[in-house]
Amino acid sequence: MTMQLIETLLNGLLLGGLYGLIGLGLSINFGTMRVVYLAHGDLIVLAAYFLVVALVPLGIPALVAAAIVVPVLFAVGWALQRFIVGWSLGRGILPPLIVTFGISMVLQNVLLLFATADARTLQTSLASSGVRLGSITVPTVRIIDFAVGVGCLGLLLAILGRTALGRALRATSDDADTARLMGVDPRRMYAVAAGISAATGAVGGVLLSATRTFYPTTGSEALLVAFEVVVVGGLGSLTGTFLGGILLAMAQLLAALWPGPSYSQVAAHVVVLLVLVFRPQGLLPRTAP
């Protein structure tokens, strides 16, 4: 029983890396633009489809294909922001919600049209392999999820905390008008933030495709996870977002152990509810980066 509990918590921690990563993109968009980017989940799934349906069948090795997907999604996120979402900013909270919701519907239907509703997954040797830690066996793919998630978090924190781009992004997030007085163009910053967000989503999409099966509508599920992760973690704090991902994943897997697998989704929602009631600012509220 104890071993089973430890195994579940360890799996939750590792899966939390993927959840956290999925939440990071939403957190970046919200942190810089104060926009809940409703198409984020669909960008994740778009990346997964791009990888599994377009690149891998061409015989491109999965790792190389992943290295193509990430910059392409950066460009997609950048362009969507520059040419579509950007126009909806500064007119209240509703227009960007409607616009990103519209992008979400378009992406889902485009995927349905061109890739059909069939279940997909990335076929790799990793899917069935595991790593033995004492008497516990952990799926290799989850260890990769976690390592990549932590790596992305570290990279983002380094960019935001130590580079000129990061300073300009944080300044824009604090006060866009005053940032303009320093010579920073907020529209440019928003586009870069949306690009970075979509790129982290692409990394998440690649991992997702190797971790589970997905459909054109999986984006809505991914968005819900991302949203809950961000709310639990604390709006605008990347480290908090990541910890939120771990907490939610652990709650899901623990609930699947007891009372049973059908409770795992409910458990995540209950955690969100409890956080909203007892700690509405989230685990780590917004501070420095």
Partner: protein, 237 residues
């Protein structure tokens, strides 16, 4: 006659039905200091925001160094050499003091030609800031915030510095330090346009003054020889 550094010509700006600035005109020669005085609501801040592009003017023109600026976005205007020290200082709270300075300095990286201002020079001008360099922008005193706002503006390498309510809410000792620094900046050849509630200090620190009342210029004259009472009469309409 040589072209002034800044020429504001019939500038009007407002918010919906409210016209805050109604046809304001004045000129500032390079190296000069101009005091803008007026009670709350006279249009001083709107005037400054229209000059530096934060607020769109409805008519009139701003000519800076011979270039027409109306319609130019704020982030381009600062690159052309107009910096605003905004009312309320507007320090970035989640950035440290040093990072607040660097945000401005970073934007000058691609600039060709000599740079006059560095963070080190700002720290020499305001030693208080050097001591607080690693503290958060929200953790420092009002006086330090004002020093930081001025230093941040200087790092954008302006030819014209607009200062909105520099001494508001600060102690006399801090105000003295700030004006000593501004005097040094001015002696270095900087052109200044500033809003200051203290009429006596405005007269003492400026070459010319413009008194705004309900969005129009009520009085414009050389500061030398103007009496405080005369200005106050214009000030209250």
């Amino acid at each position: 006659m040589t072209e002034p550094l800044l020429r504001v010509d019939g500038l009007a700006a407002g918010y919906g039905q409210l016209q805050a600035v109604r046809g304001v005109s004045f000129e500032v020669a390079a190296g000069e200091a101009l005091a803008v005085i007026g009670e709350n609501g006279a249009g001083k801040t709107t005037l400054f925001h229209s000059i530096c592009g934060l607020h769109a003017a409805s008519s009139g023109e701003v000519v800076f160094g011979g270039e027409r600026l109306r319609g130019t976005p704020a982030h381009d205007i600062v690159r052309r050499g107009i910096a605003l020290v905004p009312e309320g200082r507007r320090i970035f709270p989640s950035l440290s003091v040093d990072e607040n300075l660097r945000v401005s300095e970073d934007q000058q990286r691609r600039r060709t030609g000599a740079r006059r201002w560095t963070r080190d020079r700002v720290y020499q001008l305001f030693p208080d800031l050097r001591a607080a360099a690693q503290r958060g922008g929200h953790q420092i005193s009002g006086g330090q915030q004002q020093m930081l706002a001025i230093g941040r503006a200087l790092l954008s390498e302006p030819r014209l510095l607009l200062l909105d309510e520099v001494s508001l809410g600060l102690s006399p000792a801090v105000i003295k330090v700030l004006y000593q620094a501004l005097a040094a900046i001015r002696a270095d050849g900087m052109t200044l346009v500033f809003v200051e509630q203290d009429v006596r200090r405005s007269l003492a620190f400026s070459d010319h003054l413009v008194c705004l009342h309900k969005g129009t210029v009520r009085l414009a004259r050389p500061s030398h020889g103007s009496s405080v009472d005369e200005v106050r009469r214009a000030y209250f309409g």
